[in-house]
């Protein structure tokens, strides 16, 4: 099988203007730094980025916002990156705010071949606007739809050469789910090991989901 290792300066070959990118991370914790930097360096623009939050101005995916690479953000929280809020208010950038449990589940559905799911979250709030409501056994639910992207970028603590990944502590967060839901998956890792060095019970993302591994 062909090698999955990808040099940082080859990441740009997988990027294009207007593409959608799912990213792992929570306030920058667990967001792949080298890949974000490569996206910055590549000059691509008009991106749609999808993940929990836009971190701080200078961490996580923050720089992509600050440097005007993003057309649309789908996230749960943007409060710690004032640039996101400013651009949203000025209508320079579109922001879709989604409850956190709903966003991660929409992504999981996109990766799991499901069309959507019924959640009680958001019923009776602005989140329900334009959505179908379905009542089951007396409980009202919103029908939320699956979400996918062209590319997912994830940060792993350890990876083997087959792409099996392990995350560490709270840096796991969105990473294993976004790795399911994109046409192409690029993982960044600090520790690249040989195939067989990660016990099968300890794999958190199976290598078959990972197209490329960037090691720094």
């Amino acid at each position: 099988m062909k090698s999955k290792e990808l040099a940082v300066d080859r990441i740009a070959e997988h990027l294009r203007d207007g593409m959608s990118i799912l990213f792992g991370g929570f306030m920058g914790n667990g967001t792949p730094k080298a890949i974000v930097q490569a996206i910055m360096d590549s000059g691509v623009k008009e991106l749609t980025i999808i993940g929990n939050d836009t971190a701080f101005v200078d961490t996580g995916v923050g720089p992509l916002i600050t440097h005007d690479r993003v057309r649309k953000v789908i996230a749960t929280h943007i409060g710690l990156n004032p640039e996101t809020g400013r651009r949203m208010m000025a209508a320079e950038m579109e922001v879709e705010l989604v409850p956190q449990g709903t966003l991660i589940e929409r992504i999981r559905c996109g990766g799991a071949g499901l069309g959507g799911f019924l959640t009680p979250t958001g019923v009776g709030t602005v989140v329900e606007d334009g959505k179908q409501k379905i009542t089951i056994q007396g409980v009202e639910y919103l029908l939320e739809q699956a979400l996918r992207a062209d590319l997912a970028i994830v940060q792993a603590h350890k990876a083997d050469r087959a792409g099996n990944l392990r995350y560490r502590l709270s840096a796991r967060n969105f990473n294993p789910i976004v790795a399911l839901a994109a046409d192409k998956v690029i993982a960044e890792t600090e520790h690249l090991v040989e195939v067989g060095e990660i016990d099968p019970d300890d794999v958190m993302t199976p290598g078959v989901l990972v197209d490329y591994i960037v090691c720094h």
């Binding site: 920058g28 956190q100 449990g101 991660i104 709270s170 294993p176």
Partner: protein, 221 residues
């Protein structure tokens, strides 16, 4: 004792030994400092773990749901965000403690945005308020300008509809009993008239209306 400490010490008595609890950022976080000695709770963090604890040694891989460095207790468990919200929505979190901008007499909560002004996003708040078995709102009784925050109807966009269980302020404790907002306790030195004057909502007064007890555990802040 300032208002925040009073509120946190009162909320601490609402939690039971063995509870799984999610504490919001700010005032709710203080509650962990005042738990009675015979009460051990497990703190859940939205980003994906159980067993949140105070920072011991800083680890770049470990942050709380506010993105700040944190610690963990023995027996902690890590998972992804989908599992985290399966726990939250699935009724596996016994209580969440959150601040509020407004609560109304229909148990509605507004705490995530002020249109045109503050639009940080709801993060996990909508799921927490919808899914936790008990929703405890820990907030100062009135806004900084003195306006009541416990209203007949929320005016701000809702976080969730009809989900609040308990409101603890520096003046009073309210419970929703059979859906009716009910005043249960007053703070020391606060009388019913003062609570009525500071509250816009209609409410019942519990037959057991009494003075608020607070946790004596933990250092004064």
């Amino acid at each position: 004792m300032n208002a925040k400490e009073l509120i946190a010490r009162r909320v601490a008595l609402e939690l039971n030994d063995g509870d799984v609890v999610n504490l919001g950022i700010g005032l709710p976080t203080l509650v962990a400092n005042y738990l009675p000695e015979d009460v051990t709770i497990t703190l859940q963090s939205e980003n994906g773990f159980l067993g949140l604890g105070p920072v011991t040694e800083e680890d770049p891989y470990l942050v709380n749901a506010g993105g700040q460095p944190c610690g963990m207790v023995p027996g902690a468990a890590m998972f992804d965000s989908a599992f985290s919200f399966a726990l939250i929505r699935g009724g596996h979190v016994d209580a969440c403690v959150l601040g509020g901008l407004e609560v109304d007499q229909h148990a509605n909560l507004a705490n995530w945005m002020v249109p045109g002004k503050m639009v940080p996003g709801m993060g996990g708040a909508m799921d927490l308020v919808t899914g936790a078995r008990r929703v405890i709102i820990a907030m100062e009784h009135c806004a900084k300008n003195g306006a009541p925050k416990i209203l007949k109807e929320c005016t701000l966009p809702l976080t969730a509809k009809g989900k609040v269980s308990t409101i603890v302020t520096e003046l009073a404790v309210f419970e929703f009993e059979d859906g009716v907002l009910t005043l249960c306790e007053h703070a020391p030195g606060v009388d019913l008239a003062q609570i009525r004057a500071s509250t816009a909502a209609d409410f019942a007064v519990s037959p057991d209306f009494a003075e608020m007890q607070i946790s004596q555990t933990g250092m004064p802040s």
